[in-house]
Symmetry: C2
Amino acid sequence: MVAFDDLMAFQRETEALAQVMGRLGWDQETMMPKGAAQQRADEMGALESVLHARRTDSRVGDWLAAVDEGALDDVGRAQIRHIRRSHARAVRLPDTLSAQLARVTSRAQGIWAEARAADDVAHFLPVLTEVVRLKREEAAALADGRDLYDALLDDYEPGATAEGIGAMFDRMRPRLVDLRERIMGSARTPAALSGNFPAEGQMVLAREVASHFGYDWRHGRLDRSVHPFTSGSGTDVRITTRVDTAEPLGCLYSTLHEVGHGAYEQGIDPAFRLTPLGQGVSMGVHESQSRIYENQLGRSRAFCGWLFGRMGEVFGQAGAGDADAFYAAVNRVHSGHIRTEADEVHYNLHIMLRFDLERELIAGRLEVADLEEAWNARFAADFGVAVDRPANGVLQDVHWSVGLFGYFPTYTLGNVYAGCLYTALRAAVPSLDNDLARGHAEPATAWLRDHVQRHGGLSEPAATIERACGFAPHEGPLLDYLDAKFGALYDL
Amino acid sequence: MVAFDDLMAFQRETEALAQVMGRLGWDQETMMPKGAAQQRADEMGALESVLHARRTDSRVGDWLAAVDEGALDDVGRAQIRHIRRSHARAVRLPDTLSAQLARVTSRAQGIWAEARAADDVAHFLPVLTEVVRLKREEAAALADGRDLYDALLDDYEPGATAEGIGAMFDRMRPRLVDLRERIMGSARTPAALSGNFPAEGQMVLAREVASHFGYDWRHGRLDRSVHPFTSGSGTDVRITTRVDTAEPLGCLYSTLHEVGHGAYEQGIDPAFRLTPLGQGVSMGVHESQSRIYENQLGRSRAFCGWLFGRMGEVFGQAGAGDADAFYAAVNRVHSGHIRTEADEVHYNLHIMLRFDLERELIAGRLEVADLEEAWNARFAADFGVAVDRPANGVLQDVHWSVGLFGYFPTYTLGNVYAGCLYTALRAAVPSLDNDLARGHAEPATAWLRDHVQRHGGLSEPAATIERACGFAPHEGPLLDYLDAKFGALYDL
């Protein structure tokens, strides 16, 4: 067991340094003085070099070769599975390619921001071409003969395949387009909230709902940032939210979303702290936690009834005439261009568009030069409206500029998983609607912690969901939930 | 020049990682969730291992041997001087001793805190004995035949010697004791401030005075912490302060003190960023900046006049009847037991007591078992009152528990340097009192930046002060300043 123990001790230090990197990222978005950006890049670059050297350290390969897996328990074997996978990825990637990717994506992100601000696709295309070329090289180095896109996907959702996801998306898409069209044809046109909602009150409510959903303040904190995010694992898991005084739902539902991510990390078995099992097992399972807190629980009629009353107390009004109108406003379906502002019906259509396009790009079947046209055609077909400008179309997301190919589908995987978990949760916690009507979700968190969160990286993603639900995950529960919820809301 | 360039590139990464360590320390004291302490220790431990490996890396020795110093300019030679010194210290220290020191001081700090809370010296003595033994071992490893105490001092004040400091302190002590006794015999007994000063107002004022003293918010920020401190170099230099609603001067003068430290780091030539020259050259010179901002400028009659008026505006009252009473309260001399609460007259007597005792401990001429008695006897002699309990005596400071032997004298060195700089500053900036009477010190900061701060680690500490003042630093200006100021205040 010497090899295993040495490997785990080494890994624990690596995980600790990776946590430090996370703290720097958090600080950069929340606390860092404006003039410190260049120095922070130097600091993170130095730490990244240290992490890279550890991830490719030849001793890791030696220890892995020496470990007797037969002598390990389930936990030990799962640790080895994670270490083996990430070490294999790290050593397959040539150092020069990693360095090139870091340099080019850093430049590309700046150019993307300029292009989006100026609605100038042509400004972005040359560097995007370079990013796609390098990502295809990366995929080829990692693929070991498998599908190129799968090799990239593997970093975010181990075990998933483009073929499997593609088939599922193809089953989902017509039902979602049909639901969307029926909603748009409905006579019901709920109003958005109106009014002014001071920032202090929003933050008071944000902290309150975080507490009610089981967020652990002893091991976390809530701050404001431009884009909400969750940072850290183990006993230091921080979340952020944003505030718009004209629109309070963004703050509240961003908070619930991040509370889902945060509760997952906080809920993992403390014995896994600073090991490969001590963090969410995949982006898809992570997103299942954020989505079920935000949508299935947070946007339920029961919780909206409580929130309507509480907003009245905090702000003197909730921006809607009664709880039903408030619930309708929270779940208002609208034909927007922007993914991050999309409702539950449109959201997955945004993802499918991106998944299909990026899969074609990585396969080499779509040229970057043709990307905008492909985007616009698909958008018009699925959303029933035209893209009005590139900033609302192909330039809206940062992901491709920073090389995140294979990441998008995990958002919809998360929604699908959340649909499955919600079915199981309702059966397991009969008090759920009563809890939510009092503004509370601790019993739901307790069930999720016990059945999903505490296991961390112990099982593969799909197996993690299957163990919790008792059935293999599939799109049915999510689609049925959407049909039922929006059918009732829009009188379909 | 290949060796020099390689060495500097390596060093730059080490300095960047050292900055990361600083960010973790800052976060721990200001932002970290309470339940994250153990994990943070693991994170800092992992990073410390990385830093230790870099500091003792054999390539550094090879590069140093290969550098042709004759081909370097002043800046290059100064870089090499710093790297050579810290590399020599790092390689002289056996790894086992460093690890032992880290383990024992970590435990000792906890025991010290318990002992102080319980007023139980006996609880602290065994672990302090162990700390002293390890520090003597460390000193022996570093000393290379020189004085043991000097080897420790060298880490905080390169070039200073216990003999030189001891001789200066022996000249200062009778004059300070005499001044103290005359003040205590004076018929003047100024009152402390009274009233309630809400925290928000204190922080508004703290930010205002920081701005007026030239603190650069683009490269810094101000937060609250239990003990005020400054963290970071280069373009990210953060300060903290504390707030007591019954006593506003602690917040304001702690802020000015940290603004001094912060302005020093912010004022260093940007070309030195992330190099050994890119930080304050010694603890003594650092303290000269914090002390001149806090005392010679901040506690001046001119600035107190402005502050009295401004506090009236912010709080509705300043806690004193008029500006003269306010000035007297700010500079009130009182026979307290606690170093950190001491006035300008008593402060250096606190330091001399600690310097003499720790010098004896390291020399092996004083046993830890006899430390309390020695402390109490010296305190009664110099302060005219008895120590009432160990928490107000030998147990009051954290320094010895964490192994900071050789650090205390730099506080008084800083005061001596501040006295010298103040003489030169008054001659160079004739508008000083007028500026301070308007609440501003930017012209003083400009002079200090130009004559001290921007040079960073370019020259040795005493040479840094001598270049700014035009004379070799000595205790005369500080003692004359104290005589004049307190003579007038107490009608001596």
